[in-house]
């Protein structure tokens, strides 16, 4: 029983990482109906940035903030400069561009930093070894940070003028432009926010999976699963889905399929969701254009 609870709690913690990345995916899906395959690699690149900053003596939390700010800017310009060109291109072209972007980031980071695993310190050592025996201090820290980020994101969309405008641009771009919303800026902002939130997931997961150019490959799959489980159109769904997937992964690893088949398990989950309940738990019906 004790170990079962332990699995759940640590699942929730790692689920926080999936939830952030899933939220980043949803953010772009809402505005463009696209799943950004390069989201994980963007997060990975952000994590390297944080690593460089910390390595150069910048205090951890300051590095964290700078990383988020730069990720935001990079996301914004990626949309402006690159994705904008493919706005009217057929879907398969856009997918391929995103996969190309993913490959490009992965390779470039590999060239610059090499492929060996790097240690990434956890900023939560001060929390002590374990919190009441259930969570490692880093897991508690992940939970704390994700919760904060999620709350901020929700407040942004609920209470700010720009947040509301982004939602409007997502649900009805034409009407949004009729009320004076610059829809194209909103699209860029969507990418910017997604890159920023993704960066959170990268920086938080690095102490667990170690830092290397392929660190996000597995995590992005979990984030896919989380976003799909929550319903790819729903931000709240992405968070809940990400957390659930974290728990499910841990439980399946411990009791069902063994740790060496976790990815296969997640693949099965993804396929089941797509076939049985494509709208997920919270998603609205997506109208299929045939």
């Amino acid at each position: 029983m004790e170990s079962f609870l332990l699995q759940i709690v640590s699942g929730l913690a790692i689920g926080g990482v999936y939830a952030s990345l899933a939220l980043a995916l949803v953010m772009i899906y809402q505005t463009t109906d696209l799943v950004n395959f390069s989201q994980g690699e963007l997060a990975m690149a952000s994590t390297y940035l944080a690593w460089v900053l910390i390595g150069n003596g910048v205090p951890y939390w300051l590095s964290f903030v700078i990383t988020l700010a730069i990720s935001f800017a990079v996301g914004f310009f990626l949309e402006r400069v690159l994705m904008r060109r493919f706005q009217k291109a057929p879907l398969h072209s856009v997918l391929i561009v995103m996969i190309g972007l993913m490959v490009f980031i992965n390779g470039s980071i590999g060239v610059v930093f090499g492929y060996e695993l790097k240690d990434f310190e956890s900023p939560f050592r001060w929390l002590g070894g374990t919190v009441r025996g259930y969570m490692s201090s880093h897991e508690a820290g992940i939970a704390l940070v994700t919760l904060t980020v999620m709350t901020l994101v929700f407040c942004f969309f609920r209470f700010t003028r720009v947040g509301l405008a982004m939602r409007a641009a997502a649900v009805n771009p034409l009407s949004a432009s009729f009320v004076g919303v610059d829809v194209s800026v909103m699209l860029s902002l969507g990418w910017a926010l997604a890159a920023m939130i993704g960066a959170v997931s990268g920086v938080l997961s690095a102490p667990i999976v170690y830092l290397d150019p392929n660190m996000m490959l597995n995590i992005i799959i979990y984030a896919f699963a989380g976003a799909l489980l929550g319903g790819i159109t729903s931000a709240l769904g992405a968070v809940v889905g990400g957390l659930l997937i974290g728990v499910a992964e841990n439980l399946a690893g411990a009791y069902l399929v063994g740790t060496d088949m976790k990815l296969v398990f997640i693949l099965a989950v993804i396929i089941c969701i797509l076939l049985i309940k494509p709208n997920g738990l919270f998603g609205r019906n997506v109208v299929v254009r045939v």
Binding site: R161, V171, S175, F178, V179, G180
Partner: protein, 238 residues
């Protein structure tokens, strides 16, 4: 009175298909101009051409004496042109209040938005009752009021109204047109009205343009238009 909005020789295309061939029209400061014509004549397209959405256009379009040809829709809103699009275009998954807040997107201060909302609730008390409801759950008439209210939020000088009567029961349509008359005087706003219901449109407007196949074929006062034999026969069914 001086011309607030002026279109001269406007042409427009959807892709390779030309929808407007020669549109000339004027909306006077404080005036109401209506566009009438059959389905597919180019009425809605004219509004889209003014707003620079979905079409490619040529010709001259000026607002307050200033060309707005190269401007994007969101900049045009800032100049003071509101748009109530065909099909109303309310954000159905957002609440009534949020729809109005979005209407005030171009307003800089929170206070101005609050003030605008109070104004709109004064015009349409029903919207205040329903302010927390999702816009998609409103009745057709209420959605039309919301769309008009949203467009009026930033106190535009001109609103483009696309078929406010569309899909509504006759009684509700009459109500909407009464409100439009009231808004015109209360807000001092000029109106460019596209309307299928020619009778109602001509009763509200002072100027009228008849469009056929993307061309303005007759441009005169609403009064003259009402008495024109062809118009009477074809559009008014008299």
């Amino acid at each position: 009175m001086s011309a607030l909005l002026e279109l001269q020789g406007v042409k427009a295309w959807y892709g390779a298909v030309q929808a407007l061939r020669a549109i000339d029209l004027v909306v006077e400061e404080g005036g109401v101009t209506t566009l009438i014509g059959a389905n597919g004549a180019g009425k809605t397209t004219t509004l889209r051409a003014i707003y620079n959405v979905l079409v490619r256009r040529e010709g001259s379009i000026s607002f307050n004496g200033r060309s707005i040809l190269g401007m994007s829709a969101n900049d045009i809103v800032r100049l003071g042109i509101g748009h109530v699009p065909d099909g109303r275009g309310t954000f159905s998954r957002l609440s009534v209040e949020q729809n109005l807040q979005l209407g005030g997107h171009v307003l800089r201060s929170r206070k101005a938005v609050q003030e605008g909302m109070r104004r709109i609730y004064g015009l349409f008390p029903i919207l205040q009752e329903r302010r927390l409801q999702q816009a998609g759950t409103l009745s057709g008439g209420e959605q039309q009021m919301l769309a008009i209210g949203r467009a009026l939020m930033p106190r535009p000088k001109l609103i483009l109204l696309d078929e406010p009567s569309f899909g509504l029961a006759p009684l509700i349509v009459t109500g909407i047109f009464d409100t439009l008359r009231q808004i015109r005087h209360q807000e001092g706003v000029s109106v460019l009205l596209v309307e299928q219901n020619v009778n109602l449109a001509l009763a509200l407007a002072d100027q009228a343009c008849l469009i056929e196949s993307g061309r303005v074929v007759k441009n005169c006062s609403a009064e003259t238009m009402r008495n024109d034999d062809t118009v009477k026969h074809v559009y008014l069914g008299i």
